[in-house]
Amino acid sequence: MPIDRIAAVEGTAIPLRGGNIDTDRIIPARFLRAITFEGLERHLFEDDRAQAGDHPFANPAHAGATILLVNANFGCGSSREHAPQAIRRWGIRAVVGESFSEIFFGNSVALGMPCLTAARAVIEELMQQAERDPRRELRLSLDALHVVSGDRSFALTMPAAARQSFLDGTWDATALLLDKYDEVESVARRLPYLRGWS
């Protein structure tokens, strides 16, 4: 695997308001019936879009956005990777929110889509900006841990390990886990339920 470092994301933002937006809403279970992730982006927030006349993902003004703005506990519920897959396949390259569910966060790391947190007031301001001016470009830096909008800069946070893995290009963990495999074998050999009980 080539090393794919992710240090910055630039582009316009799409604001998605609401706390506790769960993965069933992001991608309803009926779209998990295929054996590939291909085409999932077409069904992103499908039921929410149908029920809310003004859903941001139905608004052409936000087409092409690369940064998704969300509120608290985004991505809670099911562990389906289909949720971040659908978001990323739609074109999103980073998510900025008040907080994330842990499994969603981990799944997003594994497919190279960083999730960063910011204070509630910052999210509110960025959302209002994006609603007022959908073409406004943001520059998000994992290195500096901030997002720049015009002449203003807003602080972001991210767990150190996840940030490092994007900066190093080691967010796709499999190769790392297969490295030094003798150490894995030795753990397996000392666990009584694998080694034998007697």
Binding site: I35, E102, T174, W197
Partner: protein
């Protein structure tokens, strides 16, 4: 050095510290199902990797399987394709698959324990968020996504950050008609749906110690609804008695040796926690969710919230939830009319759940306007229930008696709500659209409460049903 079970299990399975500060953790048991794995096997093939420890991965089918007619090929072509893909992948990798035809199929979180695969002190991963269920045995068990399923297949390891541990001590006697489901709904209501993010929940206290393994599984199952990726109960004699004689549990002298190790993995009495919460069991009543997340619940004797009494910041989400559910501000939850009653899911479809529901139903009949179904959690549960005659209790009362699977919990199969139907459900999530209709409405409650609602045709208080005790 005293430690929690979490710390001991983590330490025993640590391979090494990774450069970014995460831990490479060995996964002792990997459970897989049809939905979150085909892409993982595909990624392995694309990279030319094999399955490293095929004997430590166990597969079954649950999410997509129909529960009415389980003959192959399934009528649903996509379901048949998905199942065939799992069969091919398992055959090629040498992974044991508990298929529909074998008698041991069921919801992955039901069969792991009942086969004795789930054991104390293990690390367990599965591409399903309700993997937390297995924590009932004193295992550290958590849900992962498909890329992490790939990682486990390829390396039997995951790259993870350790969790903090919060101890939740439940003390005292549960009242009549109050079950493990009510306890966990109460915990989620108090601590919130994101209160557990970053934590494993250790459930302790005399109430939990008196619980059966089935009840402990119900509690650990819904840890994730409280935001906690993992939840566990320290292993004790109840755990060991459950495991003795199970197909994949150690036997003979090995069983005693295993018990010694299992016991040694329990949290030490003077272990330190990152937080502690006390819950008074006697104060918990039968609980029902009224909203669109599992933290939005009330006791059956209470009313749903009033928007004008809430904090200003909370009003929009409260309004959204009440409108979606078709409920009026401040209305009593009791008496809410239902259309469907569903007893099933990895939360509450084990034999004891079916027995409790049958106790309420025996000699009564489902209300005329209600569609009611019982979906056992596994083929073994179904067979055991039939041996006790529970199937007849249910069918004579007007319930449908189905084959094992996830069914209407998430509606990836033909079982689903239609339109704005209201469902009294023993499952775990009341999210918008969760049960298959984008506008369907879910009221979560214990299986006994579902039974009571099915009979009354509306949300009812199970304590008023004579047989409940």
């Amino acid at each position: 050095m005293s430690a929690t079970l979490f710390e001991k299990v983590w330490r025993a399975h640590t391979v090494r510290a990774l450069g970014n500060g995460q831990t490479q953790l060995f996964i002792g048991l990997h459970l897989i199902h049809e939905v979150t794995t085909p892409q993982a096997f595909e990624m392995l093939r694309a990279r030319g990797w094999g399955v490293r420890f095929p004997e430590r991965t166990i597969a079954t089918v649950d999410h997509i399987v129909p529960t009415r007619d389980q003959r192959r090929p399934f009528l649903d072509v996509m379901a048949e394709d998905m199942l065939s893909a799992l069969e091919r992948n398992c055959r090629a990798a040498g992974i044991r698959l508990f298929d529909i035809s074998g008698g041991a199929q069921g919801i992955v979180h039901v069969i792991g324990p009942e086969l004795g695969l789930t054991q104390p002190g293990m690390t367990i991963a599965c591409g399903d968020s309700h993997t937390s269920t297995h924590g009932a045995f004193g295992a550290i068990a958590f849900g992962v996504g498909t890329s992490q399923v790939r990682d486990v297949l390829a390396s039997q390891c995951l790259a993870l950050d350790p969790l903090k541990v919060r101890r939740i001590r439940v003390s005292g006697r549960l009242g009549r008609g109050v079950y493990a489901k009510d306890v966990i709904l109460d915990i989620i209501r108090r601590l919130g749906v994101s209160g557990g993010v970053g934590y494993a929940y250790e459930y302790a206290g005399d109430t939990v110690e008196r619980m059966s393994m089935d009840e402990r599984m119900t509690i650990c199952n819904m840890s994730i609804e409280g935001g906690a990726r993992a939840g566990y109960v320290n292993p004790d004699q109840v755990t060991f008695d459950y495991l003795r004689g199970r197909r994949f549990a150690p036997d003979g002298d090995e069983f005693e040796a295993a018990c010694d190790w299992w016991r040694s993995m329990a949290s030490d009495p003077d272990a330190r926690y990152d937080g502690e919460v006390e819950i008074d069991a006697a104060a918990i009543e039968p609980t029902v969710t009224w909203g669109i997340n599992p933290g939005q619940s009330v006791h059956v004797s209470e009313t749903v919230p009033r928007v004008d009494e809430a904090e200003a910041a909370d009003r929009p989400s409260l309004r959204e939830a009440l409108d979606f559910m078709g409920l009026r501000d401040g209305q009593p939850i009791r008496g809410t009319k239902i259309d469907v009653a569903f007893i099933g899911s990895c939360t509450n479809a084990r034999l004891s759940d079916l027995r409790e529901a049958a106790t309420i139903i025996r000699g009564r009949h489902v209300a005329a306007h209600v569609t009611a179904l019982v979906v056992p959690g596994s083929q073994a549960v179904r067979l055991a229930a039939e041996r006790e005659g529970l199937d007849r209790v249910f069918t004579e009362a007007g319930f449908e008696w189905r084959g094992a699977g996830c069914s209407m919990c998430l509606a990836m199969n033909p079982d689903r709500l239609e339109g704005t139907q209201v469902c009294a459900s023993s499952s775990n999530r009341n999210f918008k659209g969760r049960q298959g209709s984008p506008t369907g409405r879910t009221l979560l409650m214990s299986p006994a409460m579902v039974a009571a609602a099915a009979i009354a045709g509306e949300v009812a208080d199970v304590r008023e049903f004579a047989h409940a005790d």
